[in-house]
């Protein structure tokens, strides 16, 4: 059943309406929430939302509990290909937990948190941004790792990144819900503005598997794949030092050795190679740049290191 989570009047003849699809069956009080669309340029979660609603509706007898699907926490953003909240130039995932007597966006965020709070598990699906492609992964901050990693393993992702917590991430949906005791997992997969069907199917299988483990799904499920888990901080960041166009030579998911050639930054005007880009450690490429234009500092790749000896993670992970 489609319900309104919260509403607010916009200036001209329109209401901002955050909606969810609440699918219920059976007597169990178990509830999971699948939320996506905080960032309006991340669309992988849209297809996942459809897959789940379609499959559960068709097999409603297998459900014992409630599945709440929130496809668009930032509907104006998705509607206008805007990452943040249009008009405010504000990253919605920096406004949580919001406030009941705050600005329009703060009241909306507060209502969303109230609506989700109390669920057994919340899954917040992101898809990187338009620049980077990500292998299906779950990002967990160190303080919540003990609680969340067992659930993350049920979700059929390739990689679980346990990263240092940063104060600035305290304003995310996930942090706000986790601090209120609602276990929330952040999924990053694919690339902005696109749908990668295979990743959506992969996470779809993971969600059903999680539901089975929670005792709220009796339908068919698949054995989840065993994810790689980052050792403490063992992620290597490859940033460009030059400006130009990045053309990769390595592929997504490749295992590389430190010093291996993974791409070049080229100068289309002069025909010169500005920078030969190499791997900073031995390991698996789990993030790779999709968008070719780069400045000094642009992230080109992230590598899950085989060993935690030489790499200290320093970049702030995005959420």
């Amino acid at each position: 059943m489609v319900q309104s989570v919260t509403q607010a009047s916009l200036a001209v003849n329109e209401t901002l309406n955050i909606k969810k699809n609440s699918i219920k069956n059976g007597k169990s009080g178990k509830r999971i929430c699948v939320v996506t669309g905080i960032h309006g340029d991340e669309l992988e979660g849209q297809y996942l939302a459809w897959l789940l609603a379609d499959h559960i509706n068709k097999n409603i007898g297998c459900l014992n509990g409630t599945v709440d699907i929130y496809p668009a926490l930032n509907p104006m953003g998705i509607d206008s290909i805007t990452r943040g909240i249009p008009l405010f130039d504000l990253d919605m995932n920096r406004v949580f937990p919001g406030s009941k007597d705050g600005t329009m966006i703060e009241t909306v965020c507060s209502a969303i948190i109230d609506d989700i709070a109390g669920a057994d598990i919340c899954i917040d699906v992101h898809s990187s941004n338009i620049f980077l492609k990500e292998i299906p992964q779950i990002r967990i901050s160190v303080p919540t790792a003990e609680t969340l990693v067992p659930y993350a393993k049920m979700l059929n992702v390739d990689f679980i990144w346990v990263h240092e917590s940063a104060t600035v991430l305290e304003s995310t949906l996930a942090h706000s819900l986790n601090s209120r005791g609602t276990k929330t997992l952040v999924v990053e997969m694919g690339v902005g503005m696109r749908i990668t069907k295979e990743y959506c199917f992969q996470l779809f299988d993971g969600v059903l598997n999680l539901m089975k483990n929670l005792g709220m799904w009796s339908g068919e499920t698949k054995e989840p794949r065993v994810p790689a888990i980052s050792l403490n901080g063992a992620v290597g960041f490859v940033n460009s030092d030059a400006a130009g166009i990045f053309v990769q030579t390595a592929n997504f998911g490749d295992h590389v050795r430190k010093g291996d050639h993974i791409g070049d930054v080229l100068n289309p005007l002069t025909g010169k190679i500005e920078e030969k880009v190499t791997a900073v450690c031995d390991g698996m490429i789990f993030t790779l740049r999709e968008y070719p234009i780069v400045y000094g500092g642009s992230l080109l790749a992230r590598i899950l290191c085989d060993s935690s000896d030489d790499i200290i993670e320093k970049g702030i992970t995005q959420q």
Binding site: L87, V168, G244, Y295, G296
Partner: protein, 308 residues
């Protein structure tokens, strides 16, 4: 005056971004002033350019104290300014959310790092700041409370109000916050406008900054007191929010003293012109902020009032 390129970043297709600083006097790093970090902060850049004019005059007359170096950086992010964007255009990141920066990190982290490395070691730091909210503010000085800067220093600016802000998580990556952590006493000066130039407010800001320099012994030219600065907490400023969306019609002005129940503004239905809501002051006080955009959504802060 010495003009220096403080940090340079190569672009794939444009000329390089050269962040330029203007230095006056010599010796101990006394005060650094930073203007526009966002592409719409025209007023903030303008205040710095006016300040540079004043400092040139002072330097000619030997009115900058010995062993004092003053640095002004009028515009950090002119790349965005030149193409009509507010944030770093490639990834829409805000340089003022990237401090202390990271030299091996993302582009705006590198810019922040390059900038921050030249901003460290100054005794005082002033940022000409702007709000994300669309609106006009009373000229004031703000201190992010970290426990590292003595709040009574706010009085040395002589603006009518000095405001103390309790930092929120997202404030911890601003220049102001990190300046304080790295032992510079840092303040933010807010003027009446951002995208447009407000001459009167710019002059107030320039005077406030010069007054601060005089009161701290950095310049010798006397800048007389303007106001006995009242120091208040940001949390004590009352916010009035719109009860409806529509067309916002302002009926008051920044700096005005208003009485309880005085009409501050109205919201009209944008299609048929009917008044849908009348906004009144719940108490008497000084108008500190007025929303300045014709369209308004529900629950938007349209006035802030410093209660009597």
């Amino acid at each position: 005056m010495r003009k220096e390129i403080l940090y340079s970043l190569k672009s794939p297709y444009r000329e390089s971004l050269d962040i330029t600083g203007f230095k006056f006097g010599s010796g101990k790093k006394s005060i650094a002033i930073v203007g526009a970090m966002r592409g719409n902060e025209v007023q903030q850049m303008y205040v710095c350019s006016r300040l540079i004019q004043e400092l040139k005059r002072l330097e000619k007359k030997n009115e900058i104290s010995c062993d004092c170096e003053i640095m002004v950086i009028p515009c950090v992010n002119y790349y965005s300014m030149n193409i009509g964007k507010r944030f770093w255009a490639m990834d829409n990141t805000d340089i003022n959310r990237m401090f202390p920066g990271y030299d091996l990190g993302e582009t705006t982290q590198r810019i922040a790092d390059g900038l921050f490395s030249v901003l460290q070691g100054y005794e005082y730091g002033i940022q000409l700041a702007s709000f994300y909210q669309q609106g006009n503010f009373l000229t004031h000085v703000k201190l992010m409370e970290t426990g590292l800067t003595d709040s009574s220093l706010l009085k040395l600016f002589g603006t009518s109000f000095g405001i103390i802000r309790t930092p929120r998580p997202y404030d911890t990556t601003t220049l102001n916050y990190n300046w304080q952590i790295w032992e510079t006493k840092a303040f933010s000066v807010y003027t009446n406008s951002t995208d447009t130039i407000n001459e009167k407010s710019a002059q107030e800001a320039v005077s406030a900054i010069l007054r601060f320099m005089y009161n701290t012994g950095i310049i010798t030219k006397t800048i007389h007191a303007a106001y006995a600065t009242e120091i208040i907490s940001e949390n004590s400023i009352e916010q009035i929010r719109s009860e409806d969306g529509g067309l916002f019609m302002n009926k008051t002005e920044v700096g005005k003293h208003v009485e309880e129940n005085e009409i501050l503004g109205e919201i009209l239905n944008p299609l048929d012109g009917e008044t849908v809501s009348v906004i009144k002051a719940n108490f008497s006080g000084i108008v500190y902020f007025v929303y300045n955009t014709p369209l308004i959504n529900e629950n938007t802060v349209c006035f802030k009032i410093i209660r009597d």
